[in-house]
C-alpha cells in the first residue's frame, strides 16, 4: 500500500515555506468546542505545532486567515461511497482515459461536500470490472489541486452472502473457496497489494481454515477486512477476528433475543476496538437504532453515505440502466411510480446533521464519527481526521445554523483552500445513464 508515499517528505518547516494561521475559530478539542487558532504549512500540506515553529524554525505565520468565529474541523472521511456527480466508480464501460478524466472531475467537485478523503467503493461485479477500475482507485497523490483524495478502494463484494445481497445482483456473487487466493484472483494481486484499502465480505463464506488468519494477513497489507451482506451469527463474527462491519443493521440478521447477530457482537463490547459503518440518511436505519448503536459503542461509529452516483446532482428524474427511471428527492432515491428505495445519495454532512439530531450530541463529539473514528479504523490515526501537529491539513470550515445543523463553508486540502461557499459553480441538471445494475 502506498500509504507511506502519501506522507510529506519532511515534517519540519523551512523559512521558504508558506505558513497560514487560521484564527478566530472554534476547534473541537476533547469533545468540546474551544476558541483557538490552527497553524498549517501550505508547502508541506500538514498541520504544524505553533510552538515548534516558534522555537525551532523561528518562523512567524506568513498570512492569517480570519474564520469569523466559525468551526474549524478536520476534513470528512467517507469509507463507503459508490459514486458522485454522475460518475459511478463501478462503471467499466468507459475507456481508461474517460474513466480517469471522469474520476478527476468528480474528485474536484466532490471536495465541496467537505469530504477530503474517501474510499471509492465498487459493488459486486464481474472480475473484469475490478481489473478495469481498481487501477484508477488507489491512493491519490499529494496534490491539493486534485480535490478530494482516494485513500484506497473499498471492494464491497463479490464475496457476499446471496441471502443478504441487498441490491447486489446475485449472479455475480462468489464464494472465496481458496481464501486469500480467491481474493487475489478476483481483484488482481497487484490491486490487492497497492489499490485496495477495505474489503467487505461475508465471513461465513470463508473456508474455516483461512478465516482466523485472513484479517491479519490483509492487515499486513494495510487492508481492513469488514463483515457485511452476511448472515454471520454473534459467535461466528466474534471468532472471525473481523473488527469492522459494513453498514450496520443493513444486509444482516437483526438482533434476536437468543441470537444477537452481528449488531450484538459489535455493540456489546465497546472495549474491543470494533468499528461499524452506519448510514444515517434517515431511511436505511431507524434513528433509534443509530442512537442505540452510538450509545453502546461511541468510539466505533463511522458515518457513511453509501451514496450512488446521483450524489451532488440536482433533484429530478434519472434513467436507470435497465430502462426504469429513478426519482431523486433530496437524499432519497425511489423507483419511479413506486416507494421502493433505490439507494442513497445523501451527503456526509447531511448524515452528520441527521446523526446529531437523532442522538442529541453536539458537533464537537459528533464530528469524530466522520473524522477521527474512520481514520483510526483505517490505520490513519494522526494522519487524517485530526487537528494534531503532523496530520495532513485537510480541513473544513463549518457554519452552525440556529437549529444546530452545520453546513460546509470552506474546504482546505493539504493546507490550500480548495472550496469556498458562494464561489461554487452551479451543477447542471441532466439525465445520467446509470450503466450498472
Amino acid at each position: 500500500m502506498a500509504a507511506a508515499a502519501m506522507r510529506p517528505s519532511r515534517t519540519e518547516s523551512l523559512p521558504t515555506d508558506r505558513l497560514v494561521r487560521l484564527t478566530n475559530c472554534l476547534l473541537p478539542v476533547d469533545g468540546r468546542l474551544v476558541p483557538g487558532s490552527l497553524l498549517i504549512n501550505s508547502t508541506t500540506g500538514i498541520i504544524v505545532s505553533p510552538q515548534d515553529t516558534f522555537y525551532d524554525s523561528k518562523l512567524p505565520a506568513s498570512s492569517t486567515v480570519d474564520l469569523g468565529g466559525r468551526l474549524l474541523v478536520p476534513g470528512f472521511i467517507d469509507v463507503q461511497i459508490n459514486g458522485a456527480y454522475g460518475f459511478d466508480f463501478s462503471d467499466a464501460s468507459k475507456s481508461d482515459e474517460q474513466y480517469a478524466k471522469g474520476l478527476r472531475e468528480v474528485n474536484r467537485q466532490f471536495v465541496s461536500t467537505g469530504v477530503t478523503g474517501y474510499l471509492p467503493t465498487i459493488t459486486s461485479q464481474k472480475d473484469n470490472v475490478y481489473h478495469h477500475t481498481l487501477p484508477h482507485l488507489g491512493p491519490s497523490p499529494r496534490d491539493p489541486s486534485l480535490g478530494s483524495s482516494s485513500l484506497g478502494a473499498h471492494v464491497e463484494g463479490p464475496f457476499l452472502n446471496p441471502d443478504k445481497n441487498g441490491i447486489h445482483p446475485r449472479h455475480v456473487l462468489q464464494t472465496p473457496k481458496d481464501g486469500l487466493h480467491s481474493l487475489e484472483t478476483v481483484y488482481g494481486k497487484d490491486n490487492l497489494d497497492k489499490k485496495i484499502k477495505m474489503i467487505t465480505l461475508a465471513p461465513e463464506l470463508l473456508p474455516p481454515a483461512s478465516l482466523p488468519s485472513l484479517p491479519s494477513v490483509l492487515a499486513s497489507k494495510n487492508i481492513v477486512l469488514s463483515a457485511g451482506h452476511s448472515t454471520a451469527t454473534y459467535s461466528q463474527l466474534i471468532a472471525s477476528n473481523i473488527n469492522m462491519i459494513t453498514h450496520l443493521y443493513n444486509a444482516m440478521n437483526q438482533p434476536q433475543q437468543r441470537e444477537p447477530g452481528i449488531p450484538g457482537a459489535v455493540l456489546a463490547d465497546a472495549t474491543r476496538s470494533r468499528y461499524f459503518g452506519i448510514i444515517a440518511d434517515g431511511v436505511h436505519v431507524h434513528p433509534a437504532n443509530i442512537k442505540w448503536a452510538y450509545k453502546s459503542n461511541p468510539s466505533g461509529l463511522c458515518l457513511v453515505t453509501d451514496a450512488m452516483s446521483l450524489l451532488g446532482l440536482p433533484d429530478g428524474e434519472y434513467v436507470w440502466g435497465n430502462g426504469e427511471s429513478i426519482v431523486k428527492t433530496g437524499g432519497v432515491l425511489t423507483l419511479k411510480g413506486t416507494t421502493k428505495i433505490a439507494g442513497s445519495c445523501v451527503t456526509l454532512v447531511e448524515c452528520l446533521n441527521n446523526f446529531m439530531r437523532y442522538t442529541g450530541i453536539g458537533i464537537a463529539e459528533a464530528i469524530k464519527c466522520v473524522t477521527a473514528t474512520p481514520a483510526r479504523m483505517l490505520g490513519l490515526e494522526g494522519v487524517k481526521g485530526s487537528l494534531g501537529a503532523g496530520a495532513d491539513a485537510d480541513l473544513c470550515v463549518l457554519d452552525v445554523r440556529s437549529d444546530g445543523a452545520v453546513s460546509v463553508e470552506q474546504v482546505w486540502k493539504f493546507g490550500v483552500k480548495v472550496f469556498e461557499k458562494g464561489a461554487r459553480k452551479g451543477a447542471r441538471p441532466g439525465v445520467v445513464e446509470l450503466s450498472r445494475l
Binding site: Y55, K58, L59, P60
Partner: protein, 340 residues
C-alpha cells in the same frame, strides 16, 4: 541617604532619589540608558571595583583616571510591595514591568532585556501582560528575554517543559520575535551568561521563590556565586513535581539547567513575586534572615535594586515592625493608582 565610595549598603533606607552627586563617569551607552546607574560599583568597596566592573561587563578605570562629573543616580533600595491577594500582587507586578519597559523606550539597537521565570505565581503576571499587550499598552517587539531554567531530558514540546509553559502563557500571545527569546538548554547553557552580557546584562529579572527559598533551580546549598549550569534535582523537588507528570516519579526529569544565583543578582533590577502562606517562611528569610546559601533568596539582600511583591498571606511570618516599615515607605497602597 547618600552613598559614598567604599561604603557598604548595610542599612536599607528611604531613598532620597533624584539627588545629584559626583560619581565615576560611565561609558556613554550606560548614561544613555535613562541616565540611571544602578550598577554594582556604587555599593562595593573600592577593592572590589575591578571585579564589579568585570561583572557589569565594563572597563575598569583606576581612580586616577576617573573623570568626575555630576549625574543623577538611583540610590540602592529595597522595596516590599504588599497587596491583598495573588491577583492584586500579579497585577502590580505586570503594571510595573510595563511601566519599566515603556520608560526604557526600547529600540532595535537598545532592547529591554528581561529575565523570566515559570511557575504558578508568574502565570498570572503573564496573563496580565498579555492583557496589557492586547490593549496596546505595551509592545515586546524590542524586548529580549532570558528564561531562568528548563528541565533536561524531556523534549521542548513536552507539555510540562518550560518552553511549553512560556509559549502557552506569554510568547504566543504577544509580538515578541522568536529570535529574541532565550531559554537555557544543553546546547547553550555554557554560553548563557556570556550571551546575557552581550546584550548588556539583564535590565529586570522577574523571579519566583520556592517555599525553601530557592530562586530558579538554585536549591538550598547552591553557591551564591553560581552561574548557569546543570543541576541535579533533589528528591523533594522530584516528588513535588510528580504531580505534573501524572504522578509518575519515573517520568519526572532528574536534572535541570538553571541560571545561577549570581546570574540573577547581576541583573540591574530584580522583581520577586511570592504569594500564599506556603511562601511566608521564604519571605521572612528573604527580608529578615541572614544571607545564607541555605536560603538562596537571601542573596538578593545584597542587590541594589530589589523589589519584592507579595500578598498578605505571604507576610504572615514577618514581624509586624517589618511590615509596618515597608508599608510606611511605600505610602498609601490602597489608592486606586498606586505608585509603581
Amino acid at each position: 541617604m547618600l552613598l559614598r565610595w567604599g561604603q557598604l549598603n548595610s542599612k536599607r533606607t528611604a531613598a532620597t532619589s533624584n539627588s545629584s552627586r559626583l560619581v565615576e563617569q560611565t561609558d556613554p551607552p550606560l548614561r544613555e540608558a535613562g541616565g540611571w546607574n544602578h550598577r554594582a560599583p556604587l555599593r562595593l568597596s573600592r577593592t572590589d571595583l575591578p571585579t564589579a566592573c568585570k561583572v557589569a561587563n565594563r572597563r575598569y578605570h583606576p581612580p586616577s583616571q576617573v573623570f568626575l562629573r555630576a549625574v543623577p543616580i538611583a540610590i540602592a533600595k529595597m522595596r516590599l510591595i504588599i497587596r491583598e491577594n495573588k491577583q492584586q500582587t500579579s497585577l502590580w507586578v505586570a503594571e510595573y514591568i510595563v511601566h519599566r519597559i515603556n520608560a526604557f523606550k526600547p529600540s532595535k539597537d537598545r532592547p529591554f532585556v528581561l529575565g523570566l521565570p515559570t511557575g504558578s505565581s508568574p502565570e498570572l503576571v503573564y496573563a496580565n501582560l498579555v492583557k496589557f499587550y492586547k490593549n496596546g499598552r505595551v509592545s515586546f517587539k524590542h524586548v529580549v528575554t532570558f528564561n531562568m531554567d528548563e528541565y533536561v531530558g524531556i523534549p521542548t514540546s513536552h507539555p510540562q517543559s518550560y518552553h511549553s509553559f512560556m509559549f502557552k502563557h506569554l510568547f504566543q500571545h504577544v509580538d515578541i520575535p522568536p529570535s529574541q527569546i532565550h531559554i537555557p538548554s544543553l546546547e547553550n547553557y555554557q554560553q548563557y551568561d556570556d550571551l546575557i552580557a552581550k546584550y548588556g546584562g539583564i535590565e529586570l529579572f522577574l523571579c519566583g521563590v520556592g517555599s525553601d527559598g530557592h530562586i530558579a533551580f538554585n536549591e538550598p546549598g547552591s553557591s551564591l556565586s553560581s552561574k548557569t549550569r546543570i543541576k541535579t534535582l533533589t528528591k523533594e523537588t522530584i516528588m513535588a513535581n510528580a504531580r505534573f507528570f501524572d504522578g509518575n516519579i519515573e517520568a519526572v526529569p532528574k536534572s535541570a539547567i538553571t541560571v545561577g544565583v549570581k546570574t540573577v543578582i547581576d541583573a540591574r533590577e530584580v522583581v520577586l513575586i511570592a504569594d500564599g502562606r506556603g511562601k511566608a517562611e521564604a519571605v521572612r528569610q528573604a527580608l529578615e534572615g541572614s544571607i545564607s546559601h541555605m536560603w538562596t533568596v537571601t542573596a538578593l539582600q545584597m542587590h541594589p535594586k530589589f523589589v519584592m511583591a507579595v500578598d498578605e498571606a505571604a507576610t504572615e511570618e514577618l514581624r509586624v515592625k517589618t511590615v509596618k516599615y515597608f508599608k510606611e515607605i511605600e505610602g498609601d497602597q490602597d489608592k486606586p493608582k498606586a505608585k509603581l
